[in-house]
Every structure is written in structure tokens, then in C-alpha cells.
Amino acid sequence: MSTLHTAGRERVALLPRSAEELSELLARCRAEGRRVLAIGTGCALREDLLLQERDQIISTERMRGIIEYEPAEGVVTAWSGTRLSELRKTVEAGGHLLTPALPLETERTLGGVIAAGASGSDRLRHGPLRNHVLGVRVADGEGIITRSGGRLVKNVTGYDLPRLHTGARGSLGVIVEASLRLFPLPAVRNGWWLDAQSGAHACRVALQVRATRAQPLSMTALRLDNRWQLHVELAGHAAVIEDEERILRGISSSFQANEAGRTDLEQLMLRLRNQHHLSCQPARIEELVAQLEADPTTGDLLVDPGIATVRWTGARPVPEVPPLSGVQRALEQRIRKAIDPHGMFLRG
């Protein structure tokens, strides 16, 4: 057992070491009529999460380890508590790139990342995480573990339930294991950045890059201490990188190699976690950023222009998202009921 702080209170979490233990715990919770919060390390829970006295937290932290990784195949399967850092180390040794790339990977579990539907900044090239979750095994409220998808890069057998679990924040059951699609490890990888006059300017440059043949791994614009920077990460064959560097310099002569790595970025991403965030259509990002930076209450800003997503600190609220339509809400409820008939799982 371990303890966890949520909403200012110390809570006890159960730490099963295996799928069997997890099943037993869940069956017990069900028998005792307790709701369950599934977590990984619990580092990224919703801030508005309210736990009741009887609610049980179950962490997959100790269900860790790689189940299958065949370098000749390009797929990794691991227990849900496996840290992203460990996964990355293993597959890089086999010549693969793991996506998503997230800050503080030693703290992040595979299950948590999938449940949070968290795509990294490398989404620009590789697409959102939900495209890469090939299969999952999930424990339901009675402790029964079911499988969907598989360990193959291409597979359409059965409904695509992995997509349902990706981003469901644990509300549909506890992810026990998952398989991820991998990408070739680039031979060369380097970062470039430029000082931008404004957020809008940084976005403009980024969109210019997007319109060329260059395919950066990520592009991030950020405002730190009132200075705007645009970071571009390149990755691939040496000759391709050379070509893409030329393209960058052709767009702006002030692009320079980033020797320092991504430390600034990581700091900022951590600070901005769980802060306001908003996505839009790529063509609107410049305008959106301009509005935000014009607002004197806005603090830090982090922008993924290619993905058209902004995160910020400050008073400016996220515009109200229109509520789900009645049809969608009702359908979601029925699906939740179908997968979690006893309403046992909390959305973490």
C-alpha cells in the first residue's frame, strides 16, 4: 500500500503486483460496494476530482515490466504500470522510437498515459496517441479481464475498444496491459529555435514550415518571462535533416541550433500541466494566440501551432465548450453502463 494526496487529503492506494491480484481487489471492492479510482503514479489527476470516504484507489504502479518486444516487429506490449522511461529505454535499444514524448517520463505509467489520452508534442509527425494503441487488456468491475485489439500493426478484428479506453481517464475500467505501435528511431535528431517578436509571429513561422516539405517531429512556441521562442525538432536520416535545416534557414535566418536541449520546454510544460488549454483549427491559431498574448492577465503560454493547441496560465478562462448534444450524452451513458454496469469506476 502507499499513500496519495488528493484534494488536500491523504488517501491510501492499493498496489496489486499482478493481474490476478488486481482482479481479486476489484472483486472485493465490488462485493463491498466501493467505487474505484484507477491510477498510475497519480501525478496527473483531475484537480476537481472528489473522492468519498469509501472510494478505493488502486494503483498499477507495481504492475510493471515489458511483456513482449520483438525488435523485428515494431510493437511493444507491457503491463500498465510500466514507466514510459523504461519503455523508451527498451525500445530505443531495439532501434525504435516511442511516441508520445512527454516530460517527466519516469513518473508516467503506460496505463495512465493511455487513460489520459495524452499525446506528446511529437504528435505533429506521428499523430495522436489513440492511433497507436493497438490493443489493451482491461479489468472490469468484477475483476474480469477482457481483451480488445491485439499486438499487430494492422488489425480490424472486433470493435475498436482500445480507442474507447484511450482518453476515458479510467472511467471504463483498469487498463492491465497495452500494446503500442512503434516508429523507426531516427538516425539524427536535433533542435532549432528562434527568438520571435510575438506569439503570432512564432505561429506564422511555424505554419510556414508546415507548408514546406520539411516534416519536423515537433514545433512548439512558448512565452517564458515575456520572451517568445519557437522550437523546432528535426529527426530522420542525416541527409534529410540537412535538407530540412536549409529549409528552416530559408524561412528565417535567425533559426539557430539548440545546444541546450529541451530543458526550458520541459519546465514550462510541467508548469502548464492541468492549466487552461484550448484547441482550434490550424488556420485560426495565430489569431487565438494574438488574443491571449494581448490579455495582460495571461502568464505563460505554450503553443503547438501544427496541432493548433494552446496552454496558458492566467485569468483568461477557456471559452465554454458547448455541451454534448442530448443524443451523444445519452449514448455515452449507455456505453458506460455497458462496460461498467455497476458504475464502479471514477473518472480520475
Binding site: 523485428a72 480490424v156 470493435y159 534529410v240
Partner: protein, 475 residues
């Protein structure tokens, strides 16, 4: 209840007389899809023009408790669009409009009946393309692609349809309109669009589809390499995967296929003295194509590839691909009917399983040709037969089962792109436990409690019965 004249009249009022086909000679051609041996004449065929008409029709069918089978172009190979007894087929043949192309943000919204290749043509002038390219793309619809989560040669690089669908307008089995068409970075709520894609018409009918478009690469180069044996071509594929080479497509055709193609209107100039042809495509910037070529060429050479040809001009490339895309039809010259299996194997076992499938067929005295998406480990053994010969058909189905079993035993899957439909229904329990299937049944019933949408497909009846018994309240 069911289909009676009152219902037909009411449907006519909603869809107009052209939208309701009740005469036998108009219904009979809908009795099967690309899986020609499974047949059932539908009671009625409806051809709505848009979402509103579809919803109106589905409401009436809901009230009358009539089963519904959605249908696109009917090119599916697993019997997904095979009608059900007493049921109505709803076709998207009159929903053929490209509604909107947002070139700046790179997406398009189309009606479900738009043909995959027509969508491609529509975005061409914007310098964009739609990536999923089933070999049937000249005929199959985007709605059908969503239904099956279809793939294609280039899905090796770009992924199946599901990775390219940003939004849907769905008419639910009750006739309600679920509008999820706005393209979003991440889904708001559960990923219903992702769940619907590949659900084989069992959760509702998609009437509008928002798809992601990609910029046309600077350079596209098609390669044709020849091999002295099918084994060598398979090994070369495994080598390419293991070396993390990055072509956008790796396809293999065996000798029988090459012969059929070369005799058809789609002659591609594949030399007929090779035992296997490998088609590769490399795309991206000039620099990346060159860099990839430098990795790939020696790997092919190691396995004895010869007669390497490269083409960049679009007319030449199209010719090389035409043979691949028409291979299935060209096989029709060999026998009246064709059965295409669709199974996936781990790519490191490619050679062993291609061999195994050949052995299984020859052991049963069947002719088999292989033309497949090698890069994804997606096998397509084609067995030629004559459906008028029931004994031969039985052997074909047995061979199909054995091949699927072999693939699953090697860690593979029943389908990489054609779906389960009717064809592989009975094989589902080989891959999933009854608990796994029960979850799928419950999800289906969340959409369609009466199981009126495409009943009898994908999910074996037994699994569904068990679900009912396990459902809360039932015990």
C-alpha cells in the same frame, strides 16, 4: 410488423419513389456483396439522398422493428453488406456529394456514398490527398471504408481509415442524428468516432464523414523488384521491417497473380518469368526518398532481387499500380468465383505463413494466388473456385478456416482490413474469449438494444446470448 405496404408507402413519402426499390428485379442485385456465395434478397432497398432522409427512414423502420443493413458500393469481401432475412438494405448510392474541402486546415467533409477515388480527385487541385487507398478505391465508398476500417497498400505508412476520420454524422438505429462532424484535436467525451469506425454497420449509418487530408509529397517513386521465389520476397519484407526501412507501401504478387494481371486490361508490364514481384513506394522530400532508397536497395539485393525498375512519372506509376489494384478482378479469368482471405500475421513470420497457406490449399486441391500487403503482414490468399460446385465451395471454406487458424496460432489476427462480417463470424471465438465478445455485444446493445442493425455479423449469436444472461438485472 415488418415490411408491409403501409411502411412502403410511408417510406415513399419520405424518400420519393426513386428512393424505395421494392420490385424484385431491383432487389435481387443487392442479394450479395463481394462475398458472392452468401445471398439473401432484401425485402426493400432504400436510397436516401441525405442525413435527413436517412433519419426519417430509420425512424419508420425503428417503429416497424425492421432489421437494417447499410450498404455502400457492395465491394466488401466479408459479407458485411449481405442482406438479412426480412430486412431492409439502405444504400448510399445517391449520397455522392463532396460537401466541403478546407484546404487550409486540411480536411474534407463528404457524404457517405462518395467513392474513395472521387474524393481523391476532388482534393487533387488543392495539392492534397486522402491516404487510405483500398485496391477497390475506384468503386468503394468512404462510408464503406468507415464501416470496415479499410486499409490499402499505403496504409503501411499512413494507417487504416480510422486514423483519417476526424468526424462523422451518424444516424442511430432509432433514427436520431448524432452529429460528431466537427473536426477536433481530441474527442470531446468518449471517442465515438473511433468506436464507430470499423463497426461494420452495426451501430448505425454514417451519412457524412469528415476526413483528414495530407499534402501531396514532393517526390513519389514506385519500385518494382523481381524475385526468384516467393520465400525470398517475404524474407526481403521481413528484412525491411527489421531494418526500420521506411517505404510507404510494400506489396507482393506471386506468379499466378502476375500471369492473370498480364492477361487483363490492366497489363502492367510485370515480367512473367519472375516467381514474385514486389512493389514498393517511396515518398517524401527528394532527400528522404534518396536516403530511404540507399537503405532499401541493398536489402533487396541480399535476397536476390533483380530487374529493379523505378518510376516517378505519374502515368508510369499508375500503370505499375494498376496491375496491383486490379489483381483481384484479373484473377477472375482463372475461375468464375474468387474467395479472398484476409488475415494478419506478425511480420517476422511472413514467409512461414505464406508457405503454410499455400500448403493448405494445395492439400485440398485448390488453386491459390497470393497478392498481399506484405509490409503490414496482411495476407490475401485468393482461392479460385466455382460456386455452382458445392463440394468445391466446402473445400474452399475449410481451407479458409485452416489458414485463419494457422495465422492466429502464430499470433496473428482474423482480419487486417476486410472485416469479419458473415465470413469469419464462426472464427471470432478462436481469437476472443466469450468474455471479450460479451463486452463487444454490450457495447453494440448500447447503440442498438434490439440488434436490428446488420444482425448476425461480426459477433457470434452465442456470445450475445450469454451477454443477455449476464446483463445486470437479468440475474
Amino acid at each position: 410488423m415488418g415490411v408491409d405496404s403501409t411502411l412502403v408507402e410511408a417510406l415513399r413519402r419520405e424518400l420519393g419513389s426513386d428512393g424505395v426499390l421494392d420490385r424484385r428485379s431491383q432487389r435481387v442485385p443487392y442479394e450479395c456483396d463481394g462475398l458472392a456465395f452468401a445471398r439473401q434478397v432484401p425485402e426493400l432497398v432504400l436510397l436516401p439522398r441525405d442525413t435527413q432522409q436517412t433519419a426519417a427512414a430509420m425512424r419508420l423502420l425503428h417503429e416497424a422493428r425492421v432489421a437494417i443493413v447499410p450498404r455502400g458500393a457492395g465491394t466488401g469481401l466479408s459479407g458485411g453488406a449481405t442482406p438479412v432475412e426480412g430486412g431492409v438494405t439502405i444504400g448510399t448510392g445517391r449520397m455522392r456529394s463532396v460537401l466541403h474541402i478546407d484546404a487550409l486546415n486540411r480536411w474534407a467533409r463528404v457524404q457517405a456514398g462518395v467513392v474513395n477515388a472521387d474524393l481523391g480527385h476532388a482534393c487533387e487541385s488543392h495539392g492534397l490527398f486522402y491516404a487510405p487507398d483500398p485496391s477497390s478505391q475506384k468503386a468503394c465508398t468512404v462510408g464503406g471504408n468507415v464501416g470496415e476500417n479499410s486499409g490499402g497498400p499505403h496504409c503501411f505508412r499512413y494507417g487504416n481509415t480510422s486514423q483519417h476520420v476526424l468526424g462523422l454524422v451518424i444516424v442511430t438505429p432509432q433514427g436520431e442524428i448524432l452529429d460528431l462532424s466537427e473536426p477536433q484535436v481530441d474527442p470531446q467525451g468518449l471517442d465515438l468516432v473511433g468506436l464507430f469506425t470499423g463497426s461494420e454497420g452495426m451501430l448505425g449509418i454514417a451519412t457524412e464523414i469528415t476526413v483528414r487530408l495530407l499534402p501531396v509529397p514532393e517526390v513519389v517513386e514506385t519500385w518494382v523488384a523481381l524475385f526468384r521465389s516467393l520465400d525470398a520476397a517475404c524474407d526481403a519484407t521481413s528484412d525491411l521491417i527489421a531494418a526500420r526501412a521506411e517505404p510507404s507501401a510494400i506489396e507482393i504478387l506471386d506468379k499466378l497473380t502476375i500471369e492473370a494481371v498480364e492477361q487483363s486490361v490492366l497489363r502492367a508490364g510485370y515480367p512473367q518469368d519472375a516467381e514474385a514481384v514486389m512493389l514498393l513506394e517511396l515518398e517524401g522530400s527528394e532527400a528522404s526518398v534518396q536516403a530511404n532508397a540507399a537503405v532499401i536497395e541493398p536489402l533487396l539485393a541480399v535476397r536476390g532481387a533483380f530487374g529493379l525498375r523505378r518510376a516517378r512519372a505519374s502515368a508510369d506509376r499508375a500503370r505499375l499500380w494498376a496491375g496491383r489494384k486490379g489483381a483481384y478482378g484479373a484473377m477472375g479469368r482463372i475461375a468464375p468465383d474468387l474467395y479472398v482471405c484476409d488475415a494478419v500475421v506478425p511480420r517476422r513470420h511472413l514467409r512461414a505463413l505464406v508457405r503454410r497457406t499455400t500448403e493448405i490449399c494445395s492439400g485440398k486441391g485448390l488453386r491459390i494466388a497470393n497478392v498481399f500487403h506484405a509490409g503490414d503482414g496482411n495476407l490475401h490468399p485468393n482461392i479460385s473456385y466455382d460456386r455452382r460446385n458445392p463440394e468445391e465451395l466446402r473445400r474452399v471454406l475449410e481451407a479458409g478456416d485452416e489458414m485463419m487458424r494457422a495465422c492466429i496460432e502464430a499470433g496473428g489476427s482474423l482480419s487486417g482490413e476486410h472485416g469479419i462480417g458473415l465470413e469469419k463470424l464462426s472464427a471470432m471465438p478462436w481469437m476472443f474469449s466469450s468474455e471479450d465478445l460479451a463486452v463487444m455485444c454490450r457495447v453494440r446493445e448500447a447503440w442498438d438494444p434490439e440488434c436490428r442493425m446488420n444482425p448476425g455479423k461480426l459477433l457470434p449469436i452465442r456470445a450475445c446470448m450469454e451477454t443477455r444472461m449476464r446483463a445486470p438485472g437479468a440475474t
